[in-house]
Amino acid sequence: MNKAVHILLTLMVTGIIAGGVLALVNIWAEPRIAANQKRETEEAIYLVQKNGKSYEEIKTVKGELFKVFDGQKNPVGYSFVYEGNGFQGKIRLMIGIEPGLDKVTSIEILEQTETPGLGTKVTEHPYKDQYNGLTIGTGIEWVKGKKPVKPNEIQAITGATISSKSVTAIVNEGTALLRKMKSEGRL
């Protein structure tokens, strides 16, 4: 057989088989991956709104904004996905916020690529829990190496100041965006 034909045929057959196998696996995996992602989002919505029982998506804005209700259909606040730059890459947050947009209920880190062992501490409880019931006021501020005193202050993590600051900045920006939308009557 001609050498060139042999080479072409080999690569073609390899490619077709590989593509076919992957298509089959994807048919099986795709709905499951989508379901996992949906479940994850739902879990995160209720994680930052502890009293939430049901939610509806607000479609008037770009991004993912959910209005959360309790058992009696009273609004308990918003769960809002917002992202921004961290130390090495994007940080994606689920921010829980009260209906008046003045207090954070809590936050959850959905995605991050911070330094393992240092920046990744923002995903751990001691840091995250500082946001529970935090007053936003004119913007959350951070202090370093001492305990926070003001109601809108958090303590940055030693060795991961940039990551800590980034999370604070993302929450501030997200809140500012929500407030702007509220003043425009789009919320």
Binding site: H6, T14, V21, V25, R32, I33, N36, L118
Partner: protein
């Protein structure tokens, strides 16, 4: 016909004799990147071993069909297919694990251990031998990642496999979980491995020389006696 080594030897050689990390010095990128903790090392090694075994088997199966000029291209497609399968299955069935390993799973495609074994072994040997070779190399990789990960986790976070080992008063050496710590640990371990091998070699040479000297001495004595 070349002399075939035993099946058990085919497996065991991967553990130390041609250990991927310490002897072949392959797969350095994932080795340095994921060994922040022992558990990450284990998961990475298991995923790599899975891909290594299946691609070795397939490559050994088709080794006579693939023309020499395009073998690397064909191997990469085969390896990439298995890596994508692992990635999809993990995302679908084990979302938590998939999240923890993040971008390292797709990167297995370019792990030199897999292509190295395909090129050096699976493309020249039978299916069963290739399977044993892949399993051995995978185990060797697992051992090195586990050792490296445990040392770095112990010194860098004071834990091993997530369990606190060192007392609370221990101040973790943060450098150990940063890239610099990976280079330091790997370099020292590799030095230790080389030191051990060189010493063993010297001892065996010394033993040979003694034996030879005794023999010549005997001969001289016999000649002198005669």
């Amino acid at each position: 016909m070349k002399k075939q080594v035993s099946y058990s030897r085919e497996y065991l050689k991967g553990l130390w004799e041609i250990n991927p990390t310490f002897k072949q010095i392959l797969g350095m990128c994932p080795t340095l990147a994921v060994t922040v903790s022992a558990i990450n090392g284990i998961a990475m090694a298991l995923a790599t071993t899975f891909v290594l075994i299946f691609s070795s088997i397939i490559i050994s199966m088709v080794r006579k069909l693939i023309p020499n000029q395009v073998r690397i291209a064909a191997y990469i497609v085969i390896v990439a297919t298995f890596v994508t399968i692992v990635d999809l299955v993990m995302k679908a069935a084990f979302p938590v694990l998939s999240k923890a390993l993040g971008p390292f799973i797709p990167l297995i495609v370019v792990n030199c251990i897999i292509l190295g074994r395909a090129e050096a072994f699976a493309s020249k040997n039978t299916i069963f031998r290739s399977f044993l070779d892949a399993l051995g190399n995978g185990t060797g990789f697992l051992i090195s990642l586990l050792v490296l990960g445990s040392i770095r986790e112990l010194l860098g976070s004071g834990t091993v496999l997530g369990y606190a080992v060192l007392p609370e008063s221990y101040d973790p050496m943060i450098i150990m979980i940063l890239p610099a710590g990976a280079f330091l640990t790997l370099g020292l371990l590799m030095g230790l491995a080389n030191f051990y091998t060189a010493r063993k070699e010297r001892i065996s040479i010394e033993a040979l020389r003694q034996k030879y000297m005794i023999e010549t001495e005997d001969k001289q004595l016999i000649e002198a006696g005669a």
